[in-house]
């Protein structure tokens, strides 16, 4: 069973057990436009909730990707190095950025659920 939550910085995080998969939302991918480069965190790196964890660059500009929750990075989606366009094609699936081992469950439950995020983006 998995549950997905969202940040006001347009990251999504999907929790399965204590494994959290992170990416950017469809809304963010559409705003960015064609993604041409992704910089991913190294395995073993400790990230804090709200801390810079990755970088995504479109033809237009570079943007930071923040960790929605804190923890230790367990893997990164290396496929994005050669095929950054996956972020546009399937932002909330094959275009995931990295996985981390969740440290504090409270950080997850504090985030928006799908309905709250949809409401949030409507106002932007």
């Amino acid at each position: 069973m998995s549950e997905t939550r969202y940040t006001d910085q347009h990251e999504w995080v999907r929790l399965e057990g204590d494994s959290a998969t992170v990416g950017i939302t469809k809304f963010a991918a559409e705003q960015l436009g064609d993604v041409v480069y992704v910089e991913l965190p190294a395995k073993g790196k400790a990230v804090k909730a709200g801390g810079e964890a990755a970088v995504v660059e479109s033809v237009k500009a570079a943007s930071e990707v923040y960790a929605p929750v804190g923890g230790e990075v367990t893997s990164a989606n290396e496929a994005l190095s050669t095929e950054p366009s996956k972020v546009n094609e399937d932002p909330e699936g094959a275009g995931w950025f990295f996985k981390l081992k969740l440290a504090d469950a409270g950080e997850f439950t504090n985030l928006m659920d799908a309905a709250a995020y949809a409401e949030f983006t409507k106002g932007l």
Binding site: G33, D34, V36, Y37, E39, V55, E57, S58, V59, K60, A61, A62, S81, P84
Partner: protein
């Protein structure tokens, strides 16, 4: 509450941009489309493969009348030597010889006036400066009401020839009056993408009809400012306010080719002694970052642990399929093949000084 401090102007094609799904952004005082639903990457690649239509009506058009050769007081280009039916690139220089703007000027067949196109950002100031400096010898009449379209890419000739006569016979940098889709037009075989193509000046009232006619052709997609920037960067063409400005002289910008031969010999343009002295302190070069990370404008250029320059334009080159950049380096590091380092987000990234353009120009030049 958002307080708008600037009232943005619109080109005659604003309604069409909205209809086409253009994403509008403020640019040089205008609301302009940065991209359409296809997106920058597809728009860029489509222009190089077929043809793209750009609205560049925000640029400053005007006609210079009087003793038009007096224009040489403010430019290093050879104005007197421009033959009828030809367009030329020139630099508008400050009294100190730095670059106030870059512009195109044309001598139309059988006409005494010169047709000018300057950049959007400083168009009022440019024309005022020309008029003040020329002190009545010649006078620019602005025609900011006119529209300007660019049709760029290998299919441009085929497409435009369906709606205009005489355009296939034009070669690179030639210009003529003709009609496009029935509208009176000034058409030049020029552009800002490195591709073969045309720039089409028409009355504002005719803009939508002409644009719709060209967009109805299967080869043509509308292209926004985003792809215009990536196309010109790959073509190694300077963008005013970024790669050149009023702190830079033509030698530093590697634009001495635009200084007329006669002007070089006579040294009769603003700042000529300094510009022609040779060996400027810094030079504009092409830069290829290694790896995939783009180096954006403002990125510091490092050599032997020391900052030796800055990137002035940089991004991802869709046709090169890799990052490309240009920037100023101390002249001793401007030699082709020089290994440099770029400071991207606190990390050092290797890069090399390379020849521009990054993508070969495909201009249709006159066969000698």
């Amino acid at each position: 509450m958002t307080v708008s401090t600037e009232i943005l102007r619109r080109t005659p094609l604003y309604a069409l941009h909205m209809e086409l799904g253009g994403k509008m952004v403020p640019f040089a005082g205008y609301e302009m489309p940065v991209q359409y639903p296809a997106g920058i990457l597809k728009e860029h690649l489509h222009t190089r493969a077929k043809a793209g239509l750009f609205d560049v009506s925000h640029m400053g058009q005007g006609f210079l009348s009087g003793d038009v050769h007096a224009l040489e007081r403010v430019t290093s280009a050879d104005v007197a030597g421009l033959k009828a039916g030809m367009q030329r690139y020139g630099l508008l220089l400050t009294p100190q010889g730095t670059i106030k703007d870059d512009f195109m000027f044309s001598r139309l067949m059988g006409e005494a006036d010169l047709y000018l196109v300057v950049n959007a950002g400083g168009k009022e100031a440019d024309f005022a400066y020309i008029n003040e400096t020329l002190e009545g010898a010649a006078q620019v009449t602005p025609r900011f009401d006119r529209a300007l379209l660019a049709l760029q890419g290998p299919a441009s000739e085929m497409v435009l020839a369906r709606h205009a006569t005489g355009v296939a016979d034009l070669t690179f940098m030639k210009v003529t009056r003709t009609t496009v889709a029935g509208a009176p037009a000034i058409v030049s075989r020029t552009g800002y993408t490195g591709e073969d193509g045309y720039e089409i000046s028409i009355e504002g009232a005719d803009a939508e009809h002409v644009a719709r006619t060209l967009l109805a052709e299967a080869e043509v997609l509308p292209i926004g400012l985003g792809a215009r920037d990536s196309l010109r960067l790959e073509a190694g063409l300077c963008l005013y306010g970024h790669d050149i400005d009023d702190m830079i002289n033509p030698a530093e910008a590697a634009l001495l080719w635009s200084v007329g031969k006669r002007r070089k010999e006579a040294r009769d343009f603003p700042g000529a002694e300094k510009t022609m002295a040779g060996n400027p302190a810094r030079k504009l070069v092409g830069i290829r970052p290694e790896g995939r990370a783009p180096a954006r404008e403002g990125t510091e250029i490092i050599k032997d642990g020391r900052v030796i320059g800055k990137v002035t334009s940089g991004g991802f080159g869709p046709s090169v399929n890799a990052p490309v950049a240009m920037g100023y380096v101390e002249t001793m590091f401007a030699t082709l093949g020089t290994k440099l380092e770029l400071m991207v987000r606190g990390q050092v990234m290797p890069a090399t000084v390379v020849l521009m353009p990054f993508v070969p120009h495909t201009y249709k030049r006159e066969k000698k």
